[in-house]
């Protein structure tokens, strides 16, 4: 009797780790067989655990997209949890791809997704375990190119020394272009390969630039022409849509068919980075959405479809899509869900129609406790909207409502915090009217000012302030049907430092990682003491990044990146926030001249066509 299952060198490691299913793949649709004659071997690397990375919609597009290119082949890797890292080191085995078990060092390109600042140490772990020198300057011609994309790529400076190239914008444009150039550069030196990428749209080569700092901010000099413009698909019409999707065999956070309704958002919430980064709005047609949703349910066997977009309820095609999908999905017993709900009766009604048996809860994000503060952040939700939404949700039969808020917002006063407690209590009151067991879960996150938003100049509330405000809100809520949770401030602070960080933080990152910082976004692994020591050791003052309001003309370390929305617009919006003025969504009113008016904004073109 022979069982070669046990000959797998990783088998003993799987046996000794807590959730081995994270590392074994065995998915449906994972691109095998391997393309033997591919000239560009790509490894998509997600710097967090499998169950989170597999829920990321981007890979469901980029993976089949790369697979569809003749010259390329693609595999994936996720960050091993600390127990697996220990096992890999103990056994001297490299971090390898899920599909073919190839070590990261044997790929042509390793492409990281930058979703969250607190996953940056994981990038170093993955490079190190994958046998790739951490610093770009130490890599040789045989080492892979290490590139990065995702929202964090629009502020990549804290990672600059570790990355060879940064891709900004829609992967549908950047990835095929990279593959084409690298395929033509097979056998070339590393520097020649980088040369080949240098003039592609949306590609930034940190190694080709030098940063200096003075009292006015950061100065970047480069052989590339600055600013680098984010590469943006003009429209989603005819954009790549895969045949099938990757279906995990182990459980993941979002276990469903992800269908993108549109990209971009023009609601203009002033705290929201995604809302600024992904403009302009590009919708898929109802036909495309319906066709993809049906094809993917058939090809994957998934029991649920999630309509994913920044604010799905804003889609003009949504009503049509739901109506057309409903009968087909009922027949196939597939559920349809809307992961983000707008605060109005229409959205609740829609959610109710999708979920005849109100099992789980509903989640809404009023974000702030008073009308004044919601005006400051340009969250177009009124007291009335909140009242009507809660009323409708309980009336439809839901028992659990989750409400998301932020604290530490610019100009915040005691009254704004009291407002959060008031909304929570009011929600419980409305709930009780309809259901005896109504429950309200309030979650309050510390606000982090993000680059490329109107709040990029703001001071971030300190750890002590956040924890005091969190305690304060909690102390105001006496209703037993309401639970209040708030995030402890240390992680929020670190996120803030890296969000608006510059190249000087790379040393701190390396130092913290060397001393054991891992999975900083996870409470069980986060070690503030390591970070404190790392900032001290590298003589970098963390407060400088978060604890001061920045002058209007400060040169930011992301000024060389042009996302399309102009700095003037952001400043105007910042001023309007101080006046507590709302800026209406341009889809339903006038153009707010965000910067895209000079670049071919679809909304504007439509407006012009109508008025002609």
């Amino acid at each position: 009797m022979t069982f070669n299952d046990f000959d797998d060198p990783y088998w003993p490691l799987f046996s000794e780790t807590r959730r081995p299913s994270r590392y074994v793949g065995c998915e449906w649709g994972a691109g095998l067989p391997e393309k033997k004659n591919a000239t560009v071997r790509f490894c998509l690397a997600f710097p967090d655990v499998y169950e989170i990375g597999m829920s990321y919609v981007g890979y469901q597009i980029l993976y089949p997209l790369l697979k569809s290119l003749d010259e390329a082949d693609v595999e994936r890797v996720y960050c091993p949890w600390v127990d697996m890292e220990e096992q890999l080191r103990l056994h001297g085995l490299p971090l390898a791809s899920l599909e073919t078990g190839r070590s990261l060092s044997r790929f042509d390109v390793v492409g990281f997704t930058l979703q969250y600042e607190l996953s940056y140490t994981n990038i170093l772990t993955m490079l190190d375990l994958g046998g790739i020198p951490l610093f770009s300057k130490d890599r040789g011609d045989d080492d892979p190119l290490v590139i990065a994309g995702g929202p964090g790529a629009m502020t990549p400076e804290p990672l600059a020394p570790f990355l060879d190239a940064v891709c900004m914008g829609d992967g549908e444009i950047t990835l095929p272009a990279i593959v084409e150039r690298l395929s033509a550069a097979v056998g070339c030196s590393r520097s020649e390969k980088l040369d080949a990428l240098a003039d592609l749209p949306g590609i930034y080569l940190p190694v080709r630039s030098v940063a200096s700092f003075d009292s006015a901010g950061c100065d970047l000099r480069s052989s590339q022409l600055f600013p680098i413009r984010r590469a943006t698909l003009k429209s989603m019409k005819g954009a790549f849509s895969s045949e099938g999707l990757l279906v995990p065999s182990a459980s993941v956070v979002h276990d469903r068919v992800p269908v993108e309704l549109f990209r971009g958002c023009t609601r203009g919430c002033r705290f929201c980075q995604a809302g600024m980064l992904y403009r302009p709005i590009r919708e898929r047609t109802a036909d495309e959405v319906v066709e993809a949703a049906l094809r993917w349910t058939e090809k994957t066997g998934w029991e649920e479809i999630g309509l994913m977009s920044l604010a799905s309820c804003d889609s003009s095609a949504l009503g049509d899509v739901v109506e057309r999908l409903k009968p087909a999905l009922r027949e196939r017993r597939v559920r349809l869900s809307l992961p983000s709900l707008r605060m109005d009766a229409f959205s609740v009604q829609l959610a109710a129609a999708l979920e005849p048996v109100k099992r789980g809860g509903l989640t809404f994000a009023p974000e702030a406790g008073t009308q004044r503060m919601r005006n400051v952040i340009n969250k177009g939700v009124s007291e009335d909207d909140i009242e009507t939404t809660l009323e409708a949700a309980f009336a439809h039969g839901w028992e659990r409502i989750k409400l998301y808020f932020m604290m530490g917002l610019p100009t915040e006063t005691r009254e704004d915090l009291e407002g959060i407690a008031k909304i929570a209590e009011r929600a419980a009151e409305i709930g009780r009217k309809h259901r005896k067991r109504a429950e309200i879960a309030v979650s309050v996150a510390g606000f982090v000012p993000k680059p490329h938003t109107p709040f990029q100049w703001e001071r971030q509330a300190s750890v002590a302030e956040l924890s005091e405000r969190g305690r304060f809100i909690k102390s105001l809520v006496s209703n037993r049907r309401v639970t209040v949770r708030y995030h402890e401030g240390e992680q929020t602070r670190l996120e803030g430092i890296f969000a608006r960080g510059d190249r000087r933080l790379a040393d701190v990152l390396f130092e913290a990682w060397r001393n054991g910082a891992r999975f900083d976004g996870w409470t069980e692994t986060f070690r503030p003491d390591i970070w404190k020591a790392a900032f001290e050791a590298k003589a970098v003052d963390p407060e400088w990044y978060v604890a001061r309001e920045r002058p209007r003309d400060e040169r930011f370390p992301w000024d060389h990146i042009d996302i399309g929305v102009s700095r003037d617009f952001l400043w105007r919006e910042r001023e309007r926030s101080r006046e507590e003025s709302l800026t209406p969504d341009c889809r339903f009113g006038d153009c707010n001249a965000c910067g895209w008016e000079r670049r071919g904004c679809g909304i504007l073109e439509k407006m012009r066509a109508v008025s002609c």
Partner: protein, 210 residues
């Protein structure tokens, strides 16, 4: 509505996909193959499926039974389903409208256990007190062939933990375990050695490894 009993194997890295994830693996693959499950009643209907005794991760399994309730079954479905399974999973046989409930039909389980460390293996061989629910345990020079009764009550997890402790091994990695078959017990004092037979008649798999 039709009950079909299926036996399947879980090989290679798929052995680390937990038991609890298997209903989705099978129902999704069936959907991909155009096979329709009957749904359970109640607030959250799900595909009606019943798995055999729990199998911890890290165990190679060659012949595991499950009952599935389908709207329709044709012999050709077996191959189409097979083609839509993820890597490492494979169907070994089927039987339409089997008698009896699955739990009661699973009378025994047969394991192959290899203790990697020579010293620990010798210790187990010469002195390990097999629990009373183990009705057969012999050694062929490499593998212990172990037959257990009532697999629903006595899974391999506790046995391996005990073996690891008894043999003073560093962890689970020191023991390789194969569950060859879960099914009907046969043999005994009068008819010879205890064995376990697959629960389906149309079994086309292999219980001897590669």
């Amino acid at each position: 509505m039709l009950k079909v009993r299926i036996v399947f194997s879980k090989r290679g890295r798929a052995c680390f996909i937990p038991h609890i994830a298997l209903p989705a693996v099978f129902s999704r693959s069936a959907t991909r193959a155009g096979i329709r499950f009957v749904q359970t009643e109640g607030f959250s209907p799900r595909p009606k499926l019943s798995l055999g005794p729990e199998l911890p991760v890290g165990i190679v399994a060659l012949c595991e039974p499950m009952d599935v309730w389908l709207e329709e079954w044709r012999a050709s479905f077996f191959d189409s389903w097979q083609r839509k399974l993820p890597d490492g999973f494979s169907l070994g046989g089927w039987e339409e409208a089997p008698l009896g409930n699955l739990g009661n039909s699973c009378e025994g389980a047969e394991y192959l256990i290899r203790v990697r460390d020579g010293g620990a293996c010798e210790a187990v061989r010469s002195g390990y007190p097999w629990p009373e629910w183990v009705c057969r345990a012999d050694y062929d020079g490499e593998w212990f062939r172990v037959v257990t009764e009532r697999p629903g009550e006595h899974g391999p997890g506790a046995l391996i933990r005990d073996l690891v402790e008894f043999g003073k091994m560093s962890g689970w990695a020191g023991v390789n375990v194969v569950r060859r078959v879960v099914g009907r017990l046969s043999g005994g004092e009068l008819t010879g050695e205890k064995r376990v037979l697959p629960l389906v008649s149309l079994f086309s798999g292999d219980t001897n490894g590669n």
